[in-house]
């Protein structure tokens, strides 16, 4: 189990661009900027956070539209975080499967990767829960909440 390291987007740009192109979506400056900010982040980011991190150079409305497009094309994944704010991060196929630790005080969200053993155990739990209600599990997330070191 370890903190995730931000992957360099460079080697992935090609496959991302292809994915967009296939659907007639252009790989523009603004979209590149958003993706690179997400690539450098240590956890999911909201529109407002990205707006700040990009030096307000991408207007909020464009940012929201970019997030919609990138989600639709499967390049980023949405997360329903604290206080009903939507946060996004690079899709699993780019960033890998992981979980979140949420600080109940400051609301910060951090990525955590489980080791294979633990993740396998979790997968079994998920199957148990899902089958008990007759549901085909498409996704799961384990959220652990508590006060982080800074708070």
């Amino acid at each position: 189990m370890k903190y995730m390291t931000a992957p360099s987007l460079r080697p992935l740009e090609r496959s991302i661009q292809d994915r967009l192109a296939t659907r007639g979506v252009r790989f523009t400056k603004g979209r590149r900027a958003v993706l690179s900010a997400l690539g450098a982040a240590d956890g999911p980011r909201s529109a407002a956070e990205l707006y700040q991190e990009l030096g307000q150079r991408v207007p909020l409305s464009s940012l929201y539209r970019t997030l919609v497009v990138l989600e639709e094309t499967g390049v980023i994944d949405p997360h329903h975080g604290l206080r009903g704010v939507m946060r996004y991060e690079l899709a699993e196929w780019i960033r890998g499967h992981h979980h979140h630790v949420v600080c109940s005080s400051c609301g910060a969200v951090e990525d955590v990767e489980l080791d294979e053993e633990t993740e396998k155990e979790l997968a079994r739990l998920v199957d148990t829960v899902a089958s008990s209600v007759g549901l085909d599990p498409s996704a799961h997330s384990l959220e652990v909440e508590g006060r982080c070191r800074r708070c």
Copy 2:
């Protein structure tokens, strides 16, 4: 106009009232109504849903204020659901610990209780995750997403 009290809630009214009284919070008709609606629900409810279920007898603004107060006094727990809508349910000490299955299609949320064995296994996972990032786990939740039988 009388509000029905859910049977399961009745033996707890005293301790809830005490909890409120301790903090100078009154146990009013509207708050009783909200609690009884939550007591009768099979999953977390949003303000809008409660508004309907209470026959619009409690104005939305009062409802929101009630939810804030009840959360602050630890009588209900918030649940950050799909699409930026906040849902609430009776606190764990009233309702018992459980988890949620979310339908990725219709957004319905349903409570699931794990058997002791499974819950214990989950608790170990949570401890593993939390201690690895130096966080004192105050709460955890396992959310399983998928398409429900109706969808």
